[in-house]
Amino acid sequence: MKALVTDYEGVEHSVDFPPEWPLMEAIKAAGLPIKAECGGCCLCATCHVYVAADWVDRLPPIDGEESSQLGEAPDVLPQSRLACQLKGHAALDGVRVTLAPVY
């Protein structure tokens, strides 16, 4: 499975997105500059991504922890998600995201 990730320079990369992997780890493994400083514990909001409009409704819903962390990230939009909370799954094959600003 793949995810299409646009970096801070606006370049889109196709990255491996294995089943059960958090998208954050898939992006990190591809060598893209995602900060993700708490290591996937949903504690820092530094793996903030914008999900492409046509994918937003196909993702699992945001839970309380993710929502509260997103509340502290800069430039949050309706399509904002934390990449550590999106797990690889057939339904997400080909998901498109853009790295969002972090503090």
């Binding site: 400083e37 290591g39 820092c44 530094t46 929502s67 509260s68 509340g71 800069p74 600003p101 503090y103």
Partner: protein, 338 residues
């Protein structure tokens, strides 16, 4: 100037355990940390979250691990310097190092142990154009002196404990406190949120739903902020703006110590965990070597091996006798106090 055997930069779990391993070999330590408390990420990011992969501890929280490590190292009498950041490292003649902190503390030792984790914690700064012009005079990321805020119009932004606690605490000091937060949900303790909402209802403070997106100047002074709300842009006159968005980690001055780096981490060998400069070690999340895993338990192992080499630098005239804590009378006597 403080002379000691080893200076440990970072009081996270690995820095704390380095006190233990160096202490077993009879070396004295001073520990520096930018936070105001021990524990590093364990204390700052996940004090309440359980950790399940510490050998022999089926489950413990970040805070419990920190508290236990503090108890475990107490017999070695480490000296802690909190709220200060290692700023400069200089090599001295005779295989010694001088380390200076941002508030002017000067240390000298034969061994420097960088256990700085993901870097030093610094306040998250909101991406508001021009905000840096007012830092320290108008915009502050922490309250240092409450009196400086007396009679001032204060705007606080954020939804965590710092934002809520200061909103409540400053209402009797400031002439007016306004809390700006993007949502009606908060990360802060529910009790603080209830108190803040009650104060807002009584008209003692203001709560504004929105996001600060500009700062306004009168000459060189801050005179207000702009807030993007659902109803459009709102200008809020104020004297002080306090953004409280938590902390983030930056490598900071350690990156300027002249050590070989790879991917923002300090390159070490896997025998002594020594950097490219003799006598400067790096252990825990801050280091890099083939096969590195960022695990607390790996950092503990690295601390033990580092200590062997640090001993050789600190006590070049002595031979190192390897002893187990279970069999050494000297160590047992020392450790019985825990």
């Amino acid at each position: 100037m403080i002379q000691t055997d080893a200076i440990i930069v970072g009081a996270g779990p690995v820095g704390l355990f380095a006190v233990f391993e160096l202490g077993l070999l009879g070396l004295r330590t001073h520990v520096i940390d930018v936070l105001d408390k021990p524990g590093g990420q364990c204390a700052e990011f996940y004090p309440e979250k359980p950790i399940y992969d510490i050998p022999g501890l089926p489950a413990c929280t970040g805070q419990e691990l920190t508290d236990n490590l503090m108890r475990q190292i107490r017999p070695f009498e480490p000296v802690f310097h909190f709220g200060t950041c290692a700023q400069r490292l200089e090599e001295l003649p005779g295989s010694r190092w001088r380390l200076t902190t941002d508030d002017g503390l000067v240390f000298e030792a034969p061994a420097i142990v960088v256990a700085a984790g993901g870097g030093s914690f610094t306040p998250k700064k909101p991406p508001i154009p021009g905000i840096e012009r007012f830092e320290g005079h108008g915009v502050d990321y922490a309250v240092r002196r409450i009196e400086a805020l007396r009679g001032q119009r204060v705007v606080i932004s954020g939804g965590g404990d710092s934002a809520l606690d200061w909103t409540i605490a400053l209402r009797d000091v400031a002439s007016r406190v306004t809390l700006v937060h993007r949502r009606t949900e908060f990360r802060a303790a529910p009790d603080s949120v209830r108190r803040m909402m009650a104060l807002a209802e009584q008209g003692q403070i203001d709560f504004l739903l929105g996001e600060v997106n500009s700062v306004q100047a009168d000459g060189s002074e801050l005179c207000g902020i702009g807030v993007r709300t659902e109803g459009g842009l709102v200008d809020l006159p104020c004297d002080r703006f306090l953004p409280f968005f938590g902390l983030t980690m930056k490598m900071g001055p350690v990156g300027e110590f002249g050590l070989a780096l790879q991917g923002g981490r300090i390159v070490v060998d896997t025998e002594k965990f020594e950097s490219s400069r003799r006598g400067v070690f790096a252990i825990g999340d801050i280091n890099h070597y083939p096969g590195k895993l960022k695990l607390i338990l790996s950092g503990f192992h690295e601390a033990a091996l580092m200590a062997q080499q640090a001993f050789r630098y600190a006590r070049p005239e002595e031979r190192l006798l390897f002893q187990y804590t279970t069999t050494s009378t000297r160590l047992k006597e020392k450790l019985e106090t825990t």
